[in-house]
């Protein structure tokens, strides 16, 4: 039995040129608008509305200069706002949901099932559905036009709870028991386990960073003044703001808005994929 097994070359192992072509075509289709966007940051308005013309006449960085000069939006201020929101929100979500996930995965206590279901119901209600009521509540709290008004409501994630409950369930029992026998409090045990699940923490943090970086509705409702806005809101506001507005500035800003998520994703790509596969393998 072992001889045919070792001799057998599964056809799947040979890379397929056809499959590669298929993905490459999809990749080019997905990527072309971005290539066009990067290059359009150097075009005037007449050139921009010809999507088939890829290259600009000249690579003059004047539109980047206009963006940085703050002629259209307080770019650096808005970029910083976005960064503050995304960093604090993603870090906060990871701390809050991983603690709760540990408690659900590793402890028995009264009301456990009920609380878990309550949390699950939260996932099913997208915050956007509650947005109007949330806005008026934030108004009561005095959090309107404050970055905290965007960050705080984003700190709870039902998905995060599910994820970390599963992650902590997969930690070997021996490690948890050893820490408990040493007399550590549950909080201490949780802290000791953190390095073990670092990939999971980083992966979920990455997802939350991306979601916070992209969020449109809540910041649009909460942040009214130009200095408090986040990048997507400022950009959407620019579009069609005036007839002589150069779209290249929009393209320049849109190219830069990609940087943080792309860099983070590229750095964490491997860890993210292996953390996900490990979670799914059980």
């Amino acid at each position: 039995m072992s001889a045919p097994h070792t001799l057998y070359r599964p056809p799947h192992r040979r890379p397929s040129v056809l499959a590669t072509l298929c993905v490459a075509v999809a990749g080019v289709l997905f990527f072309y608008p971005f290539l066009w966007m990067f290059l359009s940051a150097f075009k005037d308005n007449r050139e921009i509305f010809k999507p088939l013309q890829l290259l600009p006449r000249a690579f003059d960085p004047q539109y980047y200069r206009q963006l940085f000069n703050g002629e259209w939006i307080p770019f650096f201020q808005v970029f910083t706002n976005s960064l503050v929101v995304a960093v604090l929100q993603s870090a906060g979500v990871v701390v809050v949901t991983s603690m709760a996930g540990y408690a659900f995965a590793r402890n028995r206590f009264a009301g456990r099932g009920l609380l878990f279901i309550l949390a699950l119901v939260v996932i099913m209600m997208p915050q956007q559905a509650l947005a109007i009521a949330l806005f008026s509540w934030l108004n009561t709290l005095g959090l309107v036009n404050q970055l905290a008004g965007v960050i705080l409501p984003g700190l709870v994630s039902g998905l995060g709870l599910l994820y970390f409950t599963q992650v902590f369930r997969q930690v070997p029992d021996d490690l948890v028991n050893a820490a408990r026998l040493a007399g550590a409090s549950e909080f201490r045990v949780y802290l000791t386990l953190l390095p073990l699940v670092s990939s999971a923490l980083l992966s979920f943090g990455l997802i939350q960073f991306i979601l916070a970086w992209h969020e449109h509705l809540i910041p649009l409702l909460v942040l009214s003044s130009a200095e408090k806005q986040t990048l997507p809101i400022a950009l959407a506001g620019l579009y069609g703001s005036s007839l002589r507005f150069p779209y290249a500035v929009l393209m320049a800003a849109s190219s830069l808005i990609l940087l943080p998520t792309v860099v983070l994703f590229a750095l964490l790509y491997r860890r993210f994929q292996s953390a996900l596969s490990e979670l799914l393998a059980h």
């Binding site: 997905f30 999507p51 209600m125 994929q273």
Partner: protein, 292 residues
Amino acid sequence: MSSARANRQPYLLLLPFFALLAAFWLVPLLGGLRMSLYSNDLTGPGEYVGLANYRALLDDARFFKALRNTLAYTALSLVTILPLALLLAQALRMTFTRLRPPLTFLLLLPGLTPPAVLALLFLLVFHGREGLLNQLLVEPFGFKTINWLRDPDFILPALVLQGVWRWTGFITFFFLAGMAAIPKTLFEAAQLETNSRWRVFWSVTLPQLRPVLLFSAVYLVVDGFATFSGAYVLLGGSGGTADAGLLLVSYSYQQTFTFGQFGTAAAMSVSVAPLMLGMLVLCFAARWRRTH
């Protein structure tokens, strides 16, 4: 001995989560319920009107239009993205190892881009006759140019297309991770029986991917109901021609901030919640039946 200790400590770990849940989900939810029972007064606290806002909603053709559009958007996204991502993930598995990360990355790039920016790119991509889509894919094949954002037959497909562009890469990534998690022995066993890639995919890969498929479906349903940014930017906050692109979130935004109808908007959110819950319970129930 440790039971007393273990009894109190978990609650402390849960405290931040449930405190924030109460402060920023339960209170707005109850506030929304209350708001839906009061008149639409912008100037001050309105008066109690009972279920009048809900009755008004039942007579509101635009609400049903928005509901239909949202359901259609969600369903169309699901049936496009899931098979496409499955296909791409399988193709990526079959490609040269060295090419896999860069190709995956190309597919993921739209997912890393804020939807507001995707929508701006789309505005230019779909822009009338000179638009990329018309020039590149419609006219060369001899079709008449499509006015994607004006023609009511094409507004919703344009929104779906944008959703597909945004999410396919991420879902492909999830599927890839799920495929990597399938025990090799299962493939080896299947390959002893058949030489057909298609049959191995059908009998091993697909059933093993069920949890990831479920997760992706749930994610896309939730996202479909919450979709706002794309439609808002593409259609300038309106519903588009003949409301063909009016979605629930954009309609309630419009009701609140254009017409000042707080009560109606709140009634709308409250009515949609059970519907969504029902759909997701269905998703989970399908999984539950299979595993138990």
